[in-house]
Amino acid sequence: MEEPLLRVRGLTVEFRVPRGILRAVDKVDLDIQKGEILGLAGESGCGKSVLAHAIIKQVDPNGYIKEGEMIFEDKDVFSLSEEDLRRFRWKDAAIIFQGAQNSLNPVMRVVGHMTDTAFAHEKTSRDDVVKSSFELVRFVRLDAGKVLKLFPHELSGGMKQRIVSAMSLLLKPKLLILDEPTSALDVLTQKYFLKLMRDIHEELGITMLFITHDLGTIAEIADRVAIMYLANIVEIGSVDEIFYDPKHPYTDALIKSIPSIVGEVGDVKPVPGPVPDPVFPPPGCRFHPRCSFASESCAKEKPALRDIGGARLVACHLCDSVNPARAS
C-alpha cells in the first residue's frame, strides 16, 4: 500500500472546562490516503471538528494537544517552527471551517481576499494572483469578471461558499479539510456544491477530508468513511462497506436512526439511551451503555481499532461474533 498523505498516531486533544478535563480526541489513529475523499462523520460534540483543526495544529485557547504524532508526507507537523507551520497551513493543508462564508471581510472586495491570502503565504506578484484567482473563480462556476470586483454582501450564501472554496485552492494545497461546509446552505445549493467538490477532486486530484454530521452528505461524496463517537474513531471502511455492511453497533444504529425520504418509515429506530457526559465518559468501550450487544468485557476494556481485513478497521470486541446489521 502506498504511503498515506497524512498519518495521525495516538492523537489526544484535551480542553480545560469548568467541570474538569474534556478529552475531545482520544488516542486517535487515522491515515488519509493520497487522492481520496475521506468522510469523517459523527454526532455533534463527538470531536470531529477538533480533530480536523488539530491537523493544522490549531486548537482553541482552552485546549491543548496532549500527545500524538502527525506526519504529513515526511513532515512532522507538531514539531514545525512557527514559520514552517504558517507555510504548512494553506500551502500543504487548507481548511474551510464551518461558517467560513461569513468570515469574509465586509469592506474588502473578493479580489482583495485573494491577493491578501496569497501574499500572506508566498512571495508572488499581484498580476499572477489575479490571474490564478480569475481561473479559480471560473472553476467554481462563477462569473469571474464580475464577481472578483464585488463585496461579500453582494454575494449569496452559496456564492460566498464557492468563493471561500476558490480561496482555499489558491495555493494549490495537497489536502483540503472541509468542516461542515454545507450545513448553512439550502438543499439545492448543497447538491450543487457537493457536485462541484467532486469535480474539483477529480480534476485537481486533491485529497479531501470532509467532515459532517449528515450521513446523507457522506454517502454522496466520500470514498472512505470514518465514524467517530465520543472522541474515538469506532469504524473506518469504504463508503459502501459502512452503509451496506456496518460492523460497529454504533455505525449501524446511527444509520438506522436517520429519518430519510427513502426506505420504510417503520425501519427507523432511535439509538437507545442518552449520550454520556463527555467529561466523564463510560469506562471500557464508550458505546457499551447504549449497545444492545454489550457483554461484560465491553465495560472493562476499551477496544482498539483493529484491521478485520480489506482495509476495514473496527473498534469492537464483538465484531467477529455479532453482525449488527443482520441482528436487528
Binding site: 452559496g158 438543499v187 445549493t189 450543487y192 457536485k195 454522496e220 459502501d240 436517520i258 429519518p259 430519510s260
Partner: protein, 335 residues
C-alpha cells in the same frame, strides 16, 4: 370559559388568505420597502390532523406558524379558530384560544429561563390557567408531566436548572410545558433540528405519541424532508416557497411522486444515506441556482426564473393552488 358550541364541519384552524408584510427599508424620507413573508395562504386543519410544513430557510414557514398562533397579526386575511377570527375575539375567547394553541420552539437553550428551576418554569402556566389550584396540585401535575415526557425520576429534574440538562432533555421540558395546559393545537417549529441525531427519533416519537394520546392537531414546521416524512407519515405535507404554498398532499404521495417542479427539484436534491442511490440521482435541471431575494420577488409564478419547465404564462400569471386529485393540490400552470 368555554367557546359556544360550534359547527362540527368547521375546521379547528382555518387560514384564509393570510398575508404578512415586513418593513425592511426606508426611513423618514426614504421610500418604505416591504417584503412579503407570507403571501395569500389558505389551508385548514381538522381536529387531530398532522400537517408538516416544509421549506428552505427564509421561505416564511416560521412566520406562517406564528400567524396561526396569533403571535403575529396578519397584514391581511384571517386566522380562524373553530370558525372564529382570532383577532376579532373578545378577551375571554382570546384567552381560551391562547391556552389551546401552543408552540415548541427550535432552540431549547433559549426557551427556558436559565435562572429558574424546571419546576419554576412549569408551574406558572398551570396556576395561570387554573389547571392546578394549590401548591400540592401543581407539584403533582408537574411530576405527572415529566413522567409523560420520559424524564424519570421527576423529582430529581424539577429541582434542576436548565444548565444541568442536555439539549434533548431540555426539548422534552419544552414539550411538557407546551402540553401542560391541554392545548388542542400545537405548532412545532423545527423542534428537533437542534437535538442530537441519535436522539432525534426519540423526541419525534414522544411528540407523536403525545399528539395521538391527547388528540392534538399539529403543525410541524421543518426544513428536513426526512423528518417531515417520519412525523407526518399518516398526515399531509405542505411545501412553501418564497411565501407561497406550492404543493399540498398526503405525505408519501408528495415525497414519492412530487408534482410541482420546485418540490421535484427539492426531493431530487436531498442526499440520502445510501451511496449508490444518492449518487445515481443527477443534478436537477434548474435554470438558476440563486433563490430570488424577497425584496424582488419575480412576477407570475415565483419559481419561474429557475423552473426548467417554465412557459410564457408562468411569468405573467400567478398560479393558484388547485386540486389535481381528491387530496392533492398544486400551484402550477402545468397542471
Amino acid at each position: 370559559m368555554k367557546l359556544e358550541a360550534y359547527d362540527m364541519d368547521v375546521p379547528l384552524i382555518g387560514v384564509e388568505g393570510a398575508t404578512r408584510l415586513f418593513r425592511t427599508g426606508g426611513g423618514l424620507f426614504a421610500e418604505k420597502k416591504y417584503i412579503c413573508a407570507v403571501d395569500n395562504v389558505f389551508f385548514s386543519l381538522e381536529e387531530g390532523d398532522t400537517l408538516a410544513l416544509v421549506g428552505e430557510s427564509g421561505c416564511g414557514k416560521s412566520t406562517l406558524g406564528r400567524l396561526t398562533l396569533a403571535l403575529l397579526k396578519p397584514t391581511s386575511g384571517q386566522i380562524l379558530y373553530k370558525g372564529k377570527d382570532v383577532w376579532g375575539m373578545n378577551k375571554n375567547e382570546f384567552k381560551e384560544f391562547r391556552r389551546n394553541a401552543q408552540i415548541v420552539h427550535q432552540d431549547p437553550y433559549d426557551t427556558l429561563n436559565p435562572m429558574r428551576t424546571i419546576f419554576q418554569s412549569l408551574a406558572p402556566p398551570l396556576s395561570h390557567y387554573k389547571i392546578a389550584r394549590n401548591r400540592q396540585e401543581i407539584r403533582g401535575k408537574t411530576e405527572e408531566l415529566l413522567e409523560l415526557v420520559g424524564l424519570i425520576p421527576p423529582d430529581d429534574f424539577l429541582r434542576r436548572h436548565p444548565s444541568r440538562l442536555s439539549g434533548g432533555q431540555m426539548q422534552r421540558i419544552a414539550i411538557a410545558r407546551a402540553i401542560s395546559v391541554n392545548p388542542k393545537f400545537l405548532v412545532a417549529d423545527e423542534a428537533v433540528s437542534m437535538v442530537d441525531a441519535s436522539l432525534r427519533i426519540e423526541v419525534l416519537d414522544l411528540l407523536f405519541d403525545l399528539k395521538k394520546r391527547f388528540g392534538m392537531t399539529c403543525l410541524f414546521i421543518t426544513h428536513d424532508f426526512g423528518v417531515a416524512r417520519y412525523f407526518a407519515k399518516h398526515g399531509r405535507v405542505m411545501i412553501m416557497y418564497l411565501g407561497s404554498i406550492v404543493e399540498v398532499g398526503p405525505t408519501d404521495d408528495v415525497i414519492l411522486e412530487p408534482m410541482h417542479p420546485y418540490t421535484k427539484t427539492l426531493i431530487a436534491s436531498v442526499p440520502v444515506p445510501d451511496p449508490k442511490l444518492t449518487r445515481s440521482k443527477g443534478l436537477p435541471p434548474l435554470r438558476s441556482l440563486e433563490v430570488p431575494s424577497l425584496t424582488q420577488v419575480p412576477p407570475g409564478c415565483k419559481f419561474n426564473p429557475r423552473c426548467p419547465y417554465a412557459e410564457k404564462t408562468c411569468a405573467d400569471k400567478v398560479p393558484e393552488l388547485k386540486a389535481v386529485s381528491k387530496e392533492r393540490f398544486v400551484a402550477c400552470h402545468l397542471y
